[in-house]
């Protein structure tokens, strides 16, 4: 059994007078101790909602989230069960996740289980700040005295305070400069490895995830469409959507090919397409894809995909071999060749 288990989670957002929006439509995921799992997808695919479900900030419509086999209780007015403190979150925007009017050590101390105003509390808070690369001299400062990257470290220190076993980082480096992204991402990775914590790293940026994650889960319109160890994902993709994501990443290589945008727009989650949710944008869609919804099945020992081209139990079909049967491509490609 894994440390964190997410089983068939469904989340509906209901607005009176409108159809319910199914933000997460049956997602399953596992995170082990000391394991770094990247969750990637475009905006609106439900990855943040799933992250919020895991830490209990969002009620599930159905499905379960368990930490060490114990179900996680959604945050309410009552005191949280001690066990749920093992789940902590780092948010995207370090400018709004810290209180501008309180000294940072006090904000870090908020996360401590025995938070008293005594010297031990302060010492522990300072130790946490040091663990994320800040110094004791910073403890009495206010958030505005720090840069974005430093603030994100403070937020990480606060998340570490209750000694969590899993940290959910929701776009934790996306708002930072490229050079600072590396600093903060490295801090998170080192902490997860040293303290044997699970880390669920949610990001839209596959190129960051590629570097830090052991395992990647790709999400599209509320579904997880592919999971794979990071290295094998980079070698070949099983799901056409993952392939589209990778091909859209600009490269630093000399004379790199232009990144390719997948055709069409992300559909409205309130009215998802029939069958496979990616089929209207998929370059290799078949007739069946428009009617039947593929389930996420194991293709080999480590990889799973939800695509009719990939038979359960393998062998995996190379997407390149389907290339020949591609239907006429979207117009911007013919434009480029001209």
């Amino acid at each position: 059994m894994s440390l964190l288990e997410v089983r068939d989670v469904v989340v509906d957002y209901k607005t009176p007078g409108r159809p319910a929006v199914r933000a997460v439509a049956g997602a399953s995921l596992e995170v082990g101790a000391g394991e770094i799992v990247g969750l990637v997808g475009e905006s609106g695919c439900g990855k943040s909602t799933l992250g919020r479900c895991i830490v209990g900030l969002q009620k599930l419509s159905s499905g379960t989230v368990t930490l060490n086999g114990v179900p996680v209780t959604p945050v309410g007015r009552r005191v949280r069960p001690q066990a749920d403190l093992g789940l902590q979150m780092v948010f995207q925007d370090p400018y709004s996740s810290l209180n501008p009017r309180r000294r940072i050590w006090r904000q870090v101390a908020d996360g401590l289980i025995n938070n008293r105003s005594d010297s031990t509390t302060r010492r522990t808070a300072i130790e946490l700040l040091e663990a994320v690369g800040l110094s004791a001299a910073d403890a009495d400062r206010y958030p505005h005295e720090f840069s974005g990257g430093q603030r994100q470290r403070i937020a990480i220190a606060r998340a570490l305070a209750p000694k969590p076993s899993v940290i959910v980082a929701d776009e934790a480096v996306s708002a930072l400069d490229a050079s600072t992204q590396a600093q903060v991402a490295n801090t998170l990775v080192d902490l997860a490895r040293d303290r044997k914590m699970g880390l669920l790293f949610i990001s839209h940026d596959l190129s960051v995830i590629r570097h830090i994650a052991d395992k990647v889960a790709v999400m599209y319109l509320g579904r997880i469409v592919e999971t794979a160890p990071t290295a094998s994902l980079w070698e070949s993709r099983l799901h056409p959507y993952t392939d589209a994501l990778v091909r859209a990443i600009p490269s630093l290589e000399p004379n790199a090919p232009a990144p390719v945008a997948p055709s069409g727009e992300v559909p409205d989650p309130a009215a998802p397409p029939s069958g496979c949710r990616f089929h209207p944008r998929c370059p290799v869609a078949m007739e069946r894809c428009g009617t039947d919804d593929p389930a996420l099945v194991m293709i080999d020992d480590t990889r799973a995909a939800a695509c009719w081209h990939q038979p359960a139990g393998g062998p995996a079909v190379r997407l390149a071999s389907l290339e020949l049967q591609r239907r006429p491509r979207f117009d911007n490609e013919s434009e480029r060749q001209r």
Binding site: E42, N186, A231, P254, E265, R336
Partner: protein, 340 residues
């Protein structure tokens, strides 16, 4: 004569804080020129000067010429006639750059009518044409819709359409893809590239993402601490890098790093106008810094035709052949103090 010529531009605000320090830059017709740098490097302030905009209370020295006419010496009325027609701008956040309570048509036709003097109907037709140009699906019904109907990528297309309304010669694109998904970003980059070929418009493209620069820009200026650290063609700057800052920036990117190895961040914090070290602004973070870097500000020197760098040490100069075949990481080079 180039379309945009920024000549020795310095911009100061209160307390003598220097935002931009002696920056010179040119943009030719139909060219996509990148300005890269971290937050606080002065890249946005520099680009905004091409519209004659300066930060509140700032004083500027130097010249900013569009078609040979200096914007800094121009009266406000004349400036207004240039903004939008000669030079237009697209901003980072498509969620806030459109008015939420006016429909797209109203927002797009306003400046078409003011600048080009078209009537309501003609302006509306022109707006539909613009939306078609940026490949927005169903442009006619989009005109009567409100911004909340559209996704981030579609809003950014609308913002670009709005900027194109009066056929500007120069488009300033300030981090226009930073807030977007990679898939949407790919579409916007493709659009910009197509537009410059179709209309001959020049683009100043600002981003801190060098991988995006690599696929879109023809030439690149790398800024640090309000000055230009390195400039040249995209392959000169990225493949035959001469400035330690550019090198460190490339190495810190996930795209530049070796798979399976930890990312290599640049140590320390970026220089800002409040906190700018003496001498070369990059010296406290630089692996190659020598004593003179702490006291003297290095001049931007031309090293090859079109390729300049502002570094007195020039640690990669002697290794140029090697740098061209593969980019060495900082750590693989010998002790910089010995090498210099």
């Amino acid at each position: 004569m180039s379309l945009l010529e920024i000549d020795n531009l310095s911009i100061q605000i209160r307390d003598n804080r220097v935002l931009v320090d002696g920056v010179s830059l040119t943009v030719n017709e139909g060219e996509i020129v990148g300005i890269a740098g971290e937050s606080g490097s002065g890249k946005t302030v520099t680009a905004m000067s091409a519209l004659g905009f300066l930060p509140a209370g700032a004083t500027a020295h130097g010249e900013v010429r569009i078609d040979g006419v200096d914007l800094l010496a121009m009266n406000p009325k004349k400036l207004r006639s240039i903004r939008g027609t000669e030079v237009a701008m697209v901003f980072q956040d498509p969620m806030t750059s459109l008015h939420p309570m006016l429909n797209i048509g109203t927002q797009l036709t306003e400046h078409i009518r003011v600048h080009q003097g078209l009537g309501r109907k003609a302006a509306w037709a022109r707006a539909a044409e613009l939306l078609e140009m940026v490949r927005l699906p169903d442009p006619h019904s989009a005109l009567s819709a409100f911004p909340h109907r559209f996704s981030g990528g579609m809003r950014q297309r609308i913002a670009i359409a709005s900027a194109l309304a009066c056929d500007p010669k120069l488009l300033i694109a300030d981090e226009i893809t930073t807030a977007l998904d990679v898939t949407v970003q790919a579409g916007i980059l493709d659009l910009l590239n197509r537009l410059r070929h179709e209309t001959g418009m020049a683009v100043v493209f600002i981003t801190h993402d060098l991988a995006v620069m690599n696929v879109i820009a023809d030439r690149l200026y790398v800024m640090y601490g309000g000055r230009i650290a390195e400039s040249g063609s995209i392959s000169q700057v990225l493949n035959a890098t001469r400035h330690p800052y550019t090198r460190a920036l490339i190495d810190s990117l996930p795209e530049g790093a070796v798979l399976g190895q930890a990312l290599v961040p640049i140590p320390g914090e970026a220089a800002t106008p409040d906190r700018r070290p003496r001498g070369c602004a990059f010296n406290p973070r630089c692996a190659f810094a020598v004593d003179s870097c702490r006291s003297e500000v290095p001049e931007l020197r031309e090293l090859e035709v079109g390729h300049s760098a502002a570094c007195t040490v020039d640690p990669f100069g002697s290794r140029l052949d090697r740098a061209q075949t593969h980019r060495p990481a900082l750590s693989t080079l010998e002790d910089p103090h010995v090498a210099s």
